[in-house]
Symmetry: C2
Subunit: 214 residues, 2 copies
């Protein structure tokens, strides 16, 4: 049990105490008592801390997106999704990057995850475009994902992707029309992929054609 009193973080947020219930290499469960800007009366909340992650939308020269098919144990399903990976805590400036622009090292993690998970890589004339960040489930976890568009990407020379954990089963590129259909038909159903698609569309990098593909 830990207890910190009066740890002020930013405008009006005040942590009164924290109690750790469980921690391992992947997550940490804490009960936090805090004051908030809107509620001066202390409130208690159970929070799951997780490392931040990168989520990459790899776009080919002809506008397709490269997805991986991954086996996800917590939901017991195999799903098509954008490549992604966690940022190790020893990456500088990650602990609380706030609203600042992505640290260069986060971009290195994005390029590594792209290569390792898909076997594709940024073309020599390619750009890694930061698209902000998002929170996967801000009601219970501080997990945050940094979005990147990698454009254009090309198939790597090292052959097909194969990660150490053996969770990645397949990898291929999909047209915006196919992507539309997969989103509409619930085939794409993870927050990373759906959310980066919304960011790509809002930024004018992707257009989904609602009636494309049968």
């Amino acid at each position: 049990m830990e207890s910190r009193s009066g740890t002020r973080s930013e405008d009006g947020w005040l942590i009164l105490s924290t109690e750790t219930h469980f921690a391992n290499a992947h997550l940490k469960v804490v009960d936090v008592e805090m004051r908030t800007p809107a509620n001066p009366k202390p409130r208690s909340w159970t929070i799951v801390h997780r490392k931040a992650a990168v989520v990459i939308a790899p776009m080919t020269r002809d506008g397709k997106l490269v997805l991986i098919r991954q086996e996800r144990l917590p939901i017991r399903e195999q799903i098509w999704e954008m490549p992604a990976g966690q940022i190790d805590d020893d990456v500088g400036g990650i602990a609380d990057p706030g609203h600042s622009p992505p640290h260069p090292t986060i971009e290195a993690v994005a390029l590594r995850e792209l290569r390792e998970e898909t076997g594709w890589e940024l073309a020599e004339d390619g750009q890694l475009i930061p698209l902000g960040h998002y929170f996967t489930s801000p009601g219970f976890t501080d997990e945050r994902g940094y979005f990147f568009l990698a454009r254009p990407v090309q198939a790597g020379t090292a052959g097909h992707a194969h990660d150490a954990s053996e969770s990645i089963l397949d990898c291929r590129s999909f047209s915006p029309g196919e992507l539309s259909r997969m989103i509409r038909e619930n085939e794409i159903r993870d927050a990373n992929t759906l959310s980066i698609c919304a960011r790509l569309i809002g930024g004018g990098y992707l257009t989904l054609a609602p009636n494309a593909s049968p």
Copy 2:
């Protein structure tokens, strides 16, 4: 510590043992050892169980979307997002609804959360359109959200929204152009809102105008 051997769930997924590390009313942390369809060799994984939720996109007769501004303790931020709420475990058929269509009772939860969180309600000629489900972070949690489009909605007669937990600070409607700008500029940054927007766009219910609004 629990241990169940040979609990077969569906094609090729086999739970060999589970160990509970922490549980309260909001979440449960378990270590699971399982076989998967692609990996006959047993693997261990830490999973956070959470109740399923509903996420509602309330659309007005003139095509605006009603968002709430909510104080989120785990991320220490106030953000604009779609109304949402957890589905209590005692709602029939929720424990493992799989790919079946939403249970009628889930729709009742969606209508209740819409009313309670926004103060708006489905018009008499309105429809609650199911848009499938999604997973917030399938690498570590089974948390699942059911998407609904409520169209059209109208301001309720009971006055402004105000929930028991006092986390909701504001509520108003936004045009697709405003929504585009907020998504592009990282103002909208939670998985629920970004992901339901992708589903709305893929289904042809919403068009984001990348260059609308300054």
